[in-house]
């Protein structure tokens, strides 16, 4: 039994609402207002990049911008800046697209420990990530308003990569930038309607972890990464 006590529980709710159980036919009403679509409407992709850059200051995140040719150099500088001796990276097809396989290989040859997330390595992925200095992923959808990187975690992009290492780098293809969370959730909603399964974990990551639990002092870096850098890459789609 994977669902227990459901009928008695839901029957009771319906009874308290003074009607029969509703099991079908409920439609969301047309909301009287939709302010979420008004944020940053009509901004160009470059203007969205500016908004993103602006908000990075608020979320204690370093913002860098480059193009495909410059990515390796900027990535190297960022890893060096984080004193990264060990790096864990997501391993989806974008590694290939952005020539990062070669980049990591050469980094490895120069002495940096590199781990590309690999389902065949099981627990080892987590163990490496836990002691890694730097975690690197691509952003799937980037929210300009809040400075948020959306990750559809999967077997190539484990949850731990953006979580366990001391620092985090998000590579943000410019084409992934949208005004706000609205566009990301709309896409997920539409895919869901089409019957596509949503990722087992969708992570909206906004800068490094922080806390204000001690006397309301903002402390940057608690359980997740202590520092974060976003690298926006001007990709071909624009």
């Amino acid at each position: 039994m994977t669902i227990q006590n459901r009928d008695s529980f839901l029957d009771n709710l319906a009874a308290n609402l003074g009607r029969n159980r509703r099991t079908e036919g409920v439609k969301r009403p047309k909301w009287s207002v939709q302010p979420q679509y008004e944020v940053f409407t009509g901004l160009s992709q470059d203007e969205l990049v500016e908004k993103l850059e602006e908000h990075c200051k608020v979320i204690h995140t370093e913002f860098k911008r480059t193009d495909r040719d410059g990515l390796h150099k900027v990535l190297k500088e960022t890893i060096d800046g984080f004193e990264g001796k060990s790096v864990v990276s997501a391993s989806d097809e974008r590694l290939q697209q952005y020539g990062l396989n070669d980049f990591y290989k050469s980094l490895g040859e120069k002495g940096t420990e590199i781990h590309l997330w690999d389902e065949s390595k099981g627990e080892e992925n987590k163990v490496f990530a836990e002691r890694a200095d730097v975690g690197i992923t691509f952003s799937d959808i980037t929210l300009a308003e809040s400075g948020t990187v959306t990750l559809f975690n999967n077997k190539y992009n484990g949850r731990s990569i953006s979580l366990l290492p001391k620092t985090y780098i998000a590579i943000i293809p410019k084409s992934t930038i949208v005004p706000r969370m609205t566009q990301a959730t709309k896409l997920i909603h539409e895919r869901n309607l089409e019957g596509q399964d949503v990722s087992s974990c969708v992570s909206f990551v906004t800068g490094p972890s922080n806390s204000a639990d001690i006397e309301m002092n903002l402390i940057v870096g608690v359980h997740g990464p202590i520092k974060a850098t976003y690298i926006v890459v001007d990709d071909e789609i624009n």
């Binding site: 669902i3 227990q4 006590n5 459901r6 008695s8 529980f9 839901l10 029957d11 009771n12 709710l13 308290n16 609402l17 159980r21 509703r22 099991t23 409920v26 969301r28 909301w31 009287s32 207002v33 302010p35 979420q36 979320i59 389902e119 099981g122 992925n125 987590k126 308003e145 809040s146 975690n153 999967n154 077997k155 484990g158 949850r159 979580l163 706000r180 959730t185 709309k186 909603h189 869901n192 949503v198 974990c201 969708v202 992570s203 909206f204 906004t206 800068g207 972890s209 806390s211 204000a212 639990d213 001690i214 006397e215 309301m216 402390i219 870096g221 608690v222 359980h223 997740g224 990464p225």
Partner: protein
């Protein structure tokens, strides 16, 4: 712990609150930051009232169809390999979780911050089942080490200062560094990291469950909920049954309202939506997933005039603007849900007998109504509670009932009113000195303990007006 905290009577709790200078200073300063942060976000959007309207419509629709959406949610979680348990009571919820723990032979459980698990007293139940429970939210961890209840629903250790925290860490965990918040947090990071890695089971609450796909969403800044949902192989989410949205589109709106209203952020560092168990090939995330949906008194609120109280998304904006909370802090409420929403919810969930003073712990200033991101009529519900206490429960003090009967007679009889208006000054004469009353009788006693009360005017307005009409007086 359960919803009710402490055993001291209300008046003692209030006294303790007002005498705690550090706490009051901390609360005042926190309120200032929270208020500014929320206001700044609202101003920046420019159409905040539209957002609130939308939030309110979404909550109304969801609660009106809660059976439909809970069915959809449970189907979808189940489809994705999760087990769903509907718990009518706290006991049923705790027992289910205990059984999972026992079956797994779990020794260590890590938790992320969750008000509903506080409400049902899950930690005690877990300890009974032989598991070591670790709270991983920094504030909750501090409280757990110090065996202290939360005083705020977003920043639970608001009432503690860094010296007290340093002392707690030193005594309980051998901490030997300074009281700088950074060092304290780093220590917590190191200590808790070990717990995350070694835990057998992770337990979370739930900010919003998305019915259409079965995603359970956590809104955090520290990243502890991500730890809890990424590392242990078994994971349990406990949700209050109303923490639900129809689709991802509404998740967007409510999350945007929550983070702005709660902490003045556009989004928190982490908004994480997990669905069922990890998929084939994935090497982190749980391989066993349970969702426990808790009623614990909520269904009794459905279909009543208090239904909108279930719209609450636990942002604490009402707490952050409350001038009463400001003076007495969270513990004075005697419930894990303090402030205006606590004063409305606690009697509904925990009964009037235990919480009958709370609806009166408000000057009815209406600040809560103004900020609630989903437009719960807290002000009106507080008054409605008072009506029930007076008229249905018969719990009001005798003297008050008599006084109010007298009031009704007085205010419905212009003759009686007129007479008293003329006589008030004379009646209060024995207590008046230099146009002031400093030690008043009866109901004025409490007032005059801390402030003066003026003597009634020499001539009532109505008598002046009458004379004036006759052409008798000028001002």
């Amino acid at each position: 712990m359960s919803m009710k905290i402490g055993h001291a009577p209300y008046k003692e709790r209030v006294q303790e609150g007002v005498e705690n200078d550090f706490m009051r200073q901390a609360v005042a300063s926190a309120q200032g930051r929270f208020r500014d942060g929320r206001q700044k976000q609202a101003d920046e959007l420019g159409n905040w009232e539209d957002w609130r309207q939308l939030g309110s419509e979404i909550r109304t629709h969801t609660l009106e169809n809660i059976d439909y959406y809970l069915q959809m949610l449970s189907d979808n979680v189940s489809k994705r390999g999760g087990k769903v348990f509907f718990a009518q009571t706290a006991e049923e919820a705790n027992e289910y979780v205990q059984n999972v723990i026992k079956k797994k032979n779990a020794k260590k459980v890590v938790k992320s911050k969750s008000m509903v698990t506080e409400e049902i007293g899950l930690n005690e139940a877990l300890q009974e089942a032989g598991a070591d429970v670790v709270e991983s939210d920094l504030g909750e961890w501090i409280l757990q080490l110090d065996e202290d209840p939360p005083s705020h629903i977003v920043t639970p250790a608001l009432h503690k200062n860094k010296e007290q925290i340093r002392e707690t860490f030193a005594q309980k965990r051998g901490y030997d560094k300074s009281d700088s918040p950074e060092e304290l947090a780093l220590f917590a990071r190191e200590q808790l990291r070990q717990d995350f890695l070694s835990a057998d089971v992770g337990i979370t609450g739930c900010n919003f469950a998305v019915a259409e796909s079965g995603a359970i969403t956590f809104v955090t800044n520290e990243g502890n909920a991500r730890m809890v949902t990424s590392l242990p192989d078994t994971q349990i989410s406990v949700m209050g049954m109303e923490r639900l949205v129809p689709t991802w589109e509404e998740l967007d709106v409510l999350t945007s309202l929550l983070t702005r209203a709660a902490v003045g952020q556009k989004l928190t560092s982490y908004v994480t939506s997990i669905t069922g168990t990890r998929l084939e090939g994935e090497t982190d995330g749980p391989e066993e997933y349970h969702l426990v949906i808790v009623d614990n008194g909520r269904s009794k609120i459905l279909g009543t005039e208090f239904q909108e109280a279930l719209h609450c998304i636990r942002c604490a904006a009402c707490i952050n603007v409350c001038p009463v909370y400001r003076q007495v802090g969270g513990h004075a409420y005697g419930s894990i849900y303090p402030g205006p929403i606590g004063a409305v919810l606690s009697p509904l969930l925990g009964g009037y007998e235990e919480h009958k003073e709370l609806p009166y712990a408000s000057s009815l200033c209406g600040a809560c109504n103004e900020v609630c991101p989903v437009k719960i009529p807290l002000h009106e519900q507080l008054i409605r509670h008072r009506q029930i206490i007076v008229e249905e429960k018969g719990m009001a003090p005798k003297a008050e009932k008599l006084a109010m009967k007298g009031f009704a007679a007085w205010a419905s009889s212009p003759a009686a009113y007129k007479m008293s208006a003329a006589a008030a000054r004379t009646a209060l004469k024995p207590w008046s000195k230099d146009e002031n009353i400093t030690n008043g009788p009866g109901p004025l006693k409490g007032w005059t303990e801390s402030r003066d009360f003026p003597a009634p005017a020499k001539q009532s307005f109505r008598s002046w007006f009458k004379e004036r009409q006759k052409g008798g007086v000028a001002k």
